[in-house]
Structure formats: structure tokens, C-alpha cells
């Protein structure tokens, strides 16, 4: 099945810093989503982005489908950005479920 690799596994930032999180996947995808899992365990939808670029406030994402990777950019990070960021994909060969990476754990220090 499709493999999803996220990097880095852990990231510590000072408040105000920028960061880039990466997601590599091993097959063509129909669906790619970025989620933020908050400290209470809730998965919050950030972006649905199987290709192209999207922006939402301080967050933006780019997926280069032909090269099988996606990037999540966080600018001017805040302590509330802390948590785990997951990339999840649905490959074109699958029956319709999302396969998750292991996540990037982000800690933003005041």
C-alpha cells in the first residue's frame, strides 16, 4: 500500500518563528489532507490539497503531485500552534480510506 512519510518528527520553535513541515507519499493520490491534532486529541482539518497551493491566514500548503510531496508552512508561529500535524492521503489504488503519516510534533515556546 501507499507509504506516507512526514518530516521532521519533532520540531521546537520560538514564538514568532516560521516553519516548514514535509509529507512524502509513494503513489499517486486523489485526496491529501493536513490535520492539526490539538492537545485534547481533536483532529482539526487544515487543508484539503491533493494539488496546488492554498493559504489560510498564517498557514499555507503546497502539494506537488507529480513529485509526490506536500509542504505545510506555518508563519509567525504561536504557542497555540503546538500539537501534532498529520498528513493523510487516499491513494488512487485504495478503496477510499485515508492513510496517515506518523506526524510532526510541534512545540512552540513563548
Amino acid at each position: 500500500g501507499i507509504q506516507v512519510e512526514q518530516s521532521p518528527p519533532d520540531l521546537i520553535l520560538q514564538e514568532g518563528a516560521n516553519s516548514t513541515l514535509r509529507c512524502n507519499f509513494s503513489d499517486s493520490v486523489n485526496n491529501l489532507q493536513w490535520f492539526h491534532q490539538n492537545p485534547w486529541g481533536q483532529l482539526i482539518n487544515l487543508f484539503y490539497i491533493p494539488s496546488g497551493t492554498k493559504q489560510n491566514g498564517r498557514l499555507s500548503a503546497t502539494t506537488v503531485a507529480t513529485e509526490r510531496y506536500s509542504l505545510l508552512y506555518i508563519s509567525s508561529s504561536q504557542t497555540t500552534d503546538s500539537g501534532v500535524y498529520f498528513c493523510a492521503v487516499d491513494s488512487r489504488g485504495s478503496q477510499g480510506n485515508l492513510i496517515f503519516g506518523k506526524g510532526t510534533k510541534l512545540s512552540v515556546k513563548p
Partner: protein, 118 residues
């Protein structure tokens, strides 16, 4: 409701007991998914429903796990003879349409049920 609702939020059970976890998807969503998340890991797929039928149950770990969605809305994940290794957060998600082969449809997750088997 406005989002995916899961009950209970926490469940502690003794080894060997039977448990049921409930998921109420977003109204009108035809597809429903169950995932299991262990500490420090990403969610792992268990089963996916399209309407009332299980379209893919390949992620269920063994025959102690079973899920139903009799009316195409609420789903129940059932675990028999629970083991300590079943302890995890069980997440439910729904999407308006099945994800596979359909563009512009995304999955939304509930807050999860934290199951602890003692």
C-alpha cells in the same frame, strides 16, 4: 449535529469485557470511517462504510472487532473479549462522499473515544 460526535469520550473496562463505541456522523454524510490511534502514532484505518455496508474492513485487527451501521447514519464499533492491547483512542470520521476516486471531498473527525482496558 454540526460535527462528528463520539460517545463515550472515555471508557475504562476490565480485560475480557465487551464494549461498544458510538459514532454519530455529520448529517447527510454517506461515508463513515473508524480509526484507532495508539500513543505517539498516527491514526490507523479500521473499517469504512458506504451507506449501510462495510466497503472495506481490511483494517480490523481480528474477529473480536466488529462494526455496524444499520441505517446508514450512526455506527457502533464493538469489541469483544477486550485485551489490554486494545487500549487506544478510537476515532470516527465522515465524508459527504466516498474519498476514493472523488475529488473535492474531505473527511472530518470526531473527538475520539479513549478506551482503557485494565
Amino acid at each position: 449535529g454540526a460535527g462528528v460526535s463520539q460517545t463515550p469520550s472515555n471508557k475504562v473496562t476490565e480485560k475480557g469485557k465487551y464494549v461498544e463505541l458510538r459514532c454519530d456522523p455529520i448529517s447527510g454524510h454517506t461515508a463513515l470511517y473508524w480509526y484507532r490511534q495508539s500513543l505517539g502514532q498516527g491514526p490507523e484505518f479500521l473499517i469504512y462504510f458506504q451507506g449501510t455496508g462495510a466497503a472495506d474492513d481490511s483494517g480490523l485487527p481480528n474477529d473480536r472487532f466488529f462494526a455496524v451501521r444499520p441505517e446508514g447514519s450512526v455506527s457502533t464499533l464493538k469489541i469483544q473479549r477486550t485485551e489490554r492491547g486494545d487500549s487506544a483512542v478510537y476515532l470516527c470520521a465522515s465524508s459527504p462522499l466516498p474519498l476514493s476516486g472523488v475529488m473535492n471531498t474531505e473527511a472530518f473527525f470526531g473527538q475520539g473515544t479513549r478506551l482503557t482496558v485494565v
